[in-house]
């Protein structure tokens, strides 16, 4: 945090160590205020990305540019490397070759991941679980207020004092979303976050995801095996096959999208046929 604060100030302002602290506090508050007012997504450039696990080459050269604030869905058969790509973007695994850049230095709080499992701490109340998402800002005085705001955003303000074990699957996943959102990330990576939910809960979660993405403007990367979900949410759908981007499909439908409209269904059909034709080859 301190390095970020320091670099965002002109060097000349630091005439002595003594006045560093008050300056830093002011700047930090401004920075938070500014970020809460208009969070901007980060662009993402991937060049020649490769990753192997042992002899198994999972990603065989991915080149990709994602503009700031875009909603990208990644689909593919299981084992195609889509989750691996997401984990590399999120910095969870080491890159073998190639590069991923966000165009500037990023803080860990700028990039957040949401998994298929909610991964809540069972021994922490809902609010405390959301506070975990603040990262190094947990110790600040406004942690409670920020966590409560994030809980309100996902519609669970009234569950703040509950244990996670009393929540339904969809509610747990909303808490996980709140935890991911609380630090106002600029890139949010979703690894099949709705995969374990029932059909109705899925649709309401999809709406929630779309709403927070539109409100906050982060760059969203969604890995899913559900093509209908991909075309319903994303600006752009990437089909990954054998460790490469096989198709890059732009979804031009306006928002809010009409689920099951002919336009989306047609798009879904063509993407599915891409996936299935790849299946026939093997």
């Amino acid at each position: 945090m301190q390095t970020a604060v320091r670099s965002s100030l002109p060097e000349t302002e630091f005439t002595s160590r003594a006045n560093f602290a008050p300056h830093a506090r002011v700047v930090r508050e401004e920075r938070q205020g500014e970020r809460q007012a208009q969070t901007t997504g980060l662009p993402l450039s991937i060049r020649g990305l490769r990753k192997s696990f042992g002899d198994n080459e999972v990603l065989r050269g991915i080149d990709l540019h994602i503009p700031a604030g875009q909603f990208v869905a990644i689909v593919g058969r299981s084992g195609c490397g889509k989750s691996t790509l997401l984990r590399l973007i999120a910095g969870l695994d080491k890159i073998d070759a190639g590069s991923i850049s966000f165009g500037q230095d990023v803080q860990p709080e700028d990039i957040r991941v949401m998994f298929q499992e909610p991964r809540l701490l069972p021994w922490a109340r809902v609010l405390a679980n959301v506070e975990v998402g603040l990262g190094r800002d947990r110790a600040l005085g406004d942690a409670h207020a920020r966590a409560e705001k994030a809980l309100t955003e996902v519609g669970l303000a009234d569950k703040r004092d509950q244990w996670p074990s009393v929540l339904s699957g969809g509610q747990k996943q909303r808490v996980a979303l709140g935890r991911a959102l609380v630090s106002r990330p600029r890139v949010l990576a979703f690894d099949e976050p709705l995969g374990a939910l029932d059909a109705l809960t899925r649709i309401s979660m999809q709406r929630l995801l779309e709403r927070v993405w539109r409100d906050q403007g982060f760059t969203a990367i969604l890995v899913t095996h559900d093509v209908a979900e991909a075309v319903a949410l994303a600006d752009r759908v990437l089909v990954i096959d054998e460790g490469r981007i096989a198709h890059d499909v732009t979804v031009n439908a306006g928002r809010p999208r009409q689920r099951g409209s002919a336009e989306l269904a047609g798009l879904e059909g063509s993407i599915l046929s891409h996936l299935l034709s790849a299946d026939d080859r093997t």
Binding site: A90, L92, E109, V113, P122, W123, V132, R179
Partner: protein, 268 residues
């Protein structure tokens, strides 16, 4: 049939006090049957004195101060031995659960020591420590060490790796990760270890006091045997049962307090 009846009783009939007392029905019934059997001469008092005689013997010992002193001595030995052995076991469990190096270095040795029945060390311990306090403390600590060590280790090793990854992603430091993820995750298993250890604690202490001691409940029972005071012998055994129950209840209360997040510990 009667079981089904009791289950389907309307809730209003089951007062909370009755729920708490229900567990004492069986022990009290056994004592009642025992009393009747003794009074009618079905069980000769040379074999088993009547509960009333045992109570009387207890009352006499209570008045002389002997009972309180011996219980206190035993209780003190049990607690100190438990604290020493438990802390060391917990420390090794933590170290070996968190550090591969530490586990490689010590786990094999500890597993070998574990397979020696610690009561088999009594002759050696008497040679080392005499029948001093330290002999009893050593044995209790040794007996308590292993269940706590093994369960702490197991608890830490089985913390959900997905939660640990989550903690790392959200920027937790090592200390914070331990405090907020690993330790709470290992706690249910640690409690299993504590409850096992409490049982072993009494067992060890009784054996040690019976063989080599000059005070304590085990000593009291052995003295009574020498003078054929069978009521005092039975009294000692009953006190062991009560103390064991007490220790178990204490650990349950602690579990309820610290594991209130866990659905298994919610009051049904």
């Amino acid at each position: 049939m009667s079981l089904i009846d009791s289950v389907s009783l309307p809730r209003s009939f089951r007062l909370p006090r009755v729920d708490g007392l229900i567990q004492w029905i069986v022990p009290l019934a056994i004592i009642a049957i025992w009393q009747v059997a003794s009074v009618t001469g079905f069980v000769p008092t040379r074999v088993l004195p009547a509960p009333s005689d045992v109570l009387l013997a207890g009352w006499k010992l209570l008045l002389s101060g002997e009972l309180v002193r011996n219980i206190w001595v035993s209780f003190w030995r049990a607690s100190i031995g438990f604290l020493i052995g438990g802390s060391i076991g917990f420390a090794f469990g933590l170290a070996n659960g968190l550090s591969q190096l530490s586990a490689k270095l010590t786990d094999t040795t500890l597993q070998m020591v574990r397979n020696v029945p610690h009561l088999a060390l009594i002759p050696l311990v008497i040679l080392w420590f005499g029948i001093d306090e330290s002999a009893k403390l050593f044995l209790v600590a040794l007996g308590v060490f292993f269940p706590i060590y093994l369960n702490t280790l197991h608890g830490i090793r089985t913390v959900d790796p997905q939660l640990i990854e989550m903690g790392r992603i959200y920027g937790m430091s090592d200390g914070e990760l331990f405090r907020r993820v690993i330790f709470p995750g290992a706690l249910p298993s640690i409690f299993v270890g504590i409850r096992f250890a409490l049982g072993i604690m009494w067992l060890t202490l009784i054996v040690a006091e019976t063989i080599a001691a000059s005070s304590g409940l085990g000593y009291m029972a052995m003295q009574a045997r020498e003078f054929m005071l069978i009521d005092v012998v039975v009294l000692s055994i009953l006190i062991y049962a009560l103390l064991g129950k007490l220790a178990d209840s204490a650990s349950r209360v602690l579990e309820r307090l610290t594991l209130s997040w866990h659905p298994a510990y919610w009051k049904r």
